[in-house]
Amino acid sequence: MSCEEPTTSPTPENNITVVSSDGKEFLLDLKLTEQSETLARLISNFEYDRTDVKKDPVPLGNITSAQMQKIIEWLQHHRYYPKWEQNDIHYSTSFTFETWVEEYLNIPNNEMFELLNAANYLNIPRLFSTICRIMASRITGKSAEQIRTVLNIKTDVKNDVYTGIPIQEDSSSSEDGMSEISLSPSPPPI
């Protein structure tokens, strides 16, 4: 999906200032903050959407300026996208992403985890779900050993009992129809 992005520069009436953990200030258009449930609720609670209310800078103590910059890039790209639906979060299993998203999230896992943390803190469901699916797609087809490396997991499995039985092969069937295996089509009614 792609949306046209008319260029509008934020004015004091339609923006708020957020401050990252390292003290850098960012001017955010109120339209962009609609994608963040945390910011949207805060704006609603303090009535920052009214022009006659004084807007204090919002401190975001868990988010660095680098992460904030990355998040703003995301918010700007998705500015005119339809609202994220709850069902998409739970049942979207696709590992296919638009080119922009693939380029945007072409970052090391460490940065990805930090961005995920920030998306979780700001409650940006589309970004949160996309990062989770990207992370899941990065380990597709990987063995336990490779997953340990990708996800930075230390093993605590010791003293496995290996009885030395070689992998058994079914010598009776060389053509086994395995490529045609599929989910059983007709489960009985339960």
Binding site: H90, Y91, T93, N110, F113, E114, L116, N117, N120, F128, S129, C132, R133, M135, A136, I139, T140, G141, K142, S143, A144, E145, I147, R148, L151, N152, I153, K154, T155, D156, V157, D160, V161, Y162, T163, I165, P166, I167, Q168, E169, D170, S171, S173, S174, E175, D176, G177, M178, S179, E180, I181, S182, L183, S184, P185, S186, P187, P188, P189, I190
Partner: protein
């Protein structure tokens, strides 16, 4: 930063976005990863044992943990020759014993074989326990199961509530062995077979 340093919501969403084959591989990474996976709520879309899933008749356990996602299949047979050429290998410890698995990819899912013959139910139990799933139904040709009593008295069969028998013909003796050994009340039974002999009740 590590996966499990993330908030629960974050790592659980990553894990539930994975395919079952990667979930089982992740569980083999460490005891901690296995325990954490067991705390996650999966959307178990499909779990069952069927003899209809594969061209050559053999029971196959199948699990799908997300709608439209890839499924995991565990055929109750040893690895065929083709799996050696096409399949990838990985190891995993189940009940303290290290298994050497072969994994092949079908268009809609992954198929795994262990180096231990007759360990199918151990792997099935491990997988069901991992994603906290039950085995709700069976879809079976009883003629392809050698040990009917051993099959139906497996602990994971206690959750079965629906059974469909799809054998073309079946002897009354086999039906009796199968149904007389069911340890829990099964709500739905469909027998689509010609029965030879008289069934004792």
């Amino acid at each position: 930063m590590k996966l499990f340093s993330l908030p629960y919501l974050a790592y659980s969403r990553i894990i539930t976005s994975m395919n079952p084959i990667e979930v089982i591989s992740l569980s083999f990474c460490s005891k901690k990863s296995r325990n954490i996976i067991k705390q996650i709520h999966f959307h178990n879309d499909y779990a069952g044992i069927s003899t209809n899933a594969k061209k050559c008749k053999t029971p196959v356990f199948q699990l799908q943990i997300s709608t439209g996602g890839r499924h995991l299949s565990i055929p109750f047979q040893t690895a065929p020759r083709s799996a050696r050429c096409k399949g990838s290998r990985f190891t995993g410890t189940i009940e303290g014993v290290k298994h050497y698995f072969r994994c092949t990819q079908a268009p809609t899912g992954s198929i795994i074989y262990s180096n231990f013959p007759k360990s199918y139910f151990k792997i099935v139990r491990y997988m069901l326990d991992l994603v906290r799933a039950r085995l709700p139904y069976l879809d079976l040709d009883l003629n392809v199961i050698d040990d009917l009593k051993g099959f139906i008295t497996e602990p994971c069969m206690k959750s079965v509530s629906g059974i469909k028998v799809v054998s073309e013909t079946i002897t009354a003796e086999k039906l009796s062995i199968f149904f007389n050994n069911i340890e829990n009340p099964v709500k739905h039974v469909h027998i689509e077979s010609k029965v030879e002999g008289q069934v004792s009740t």
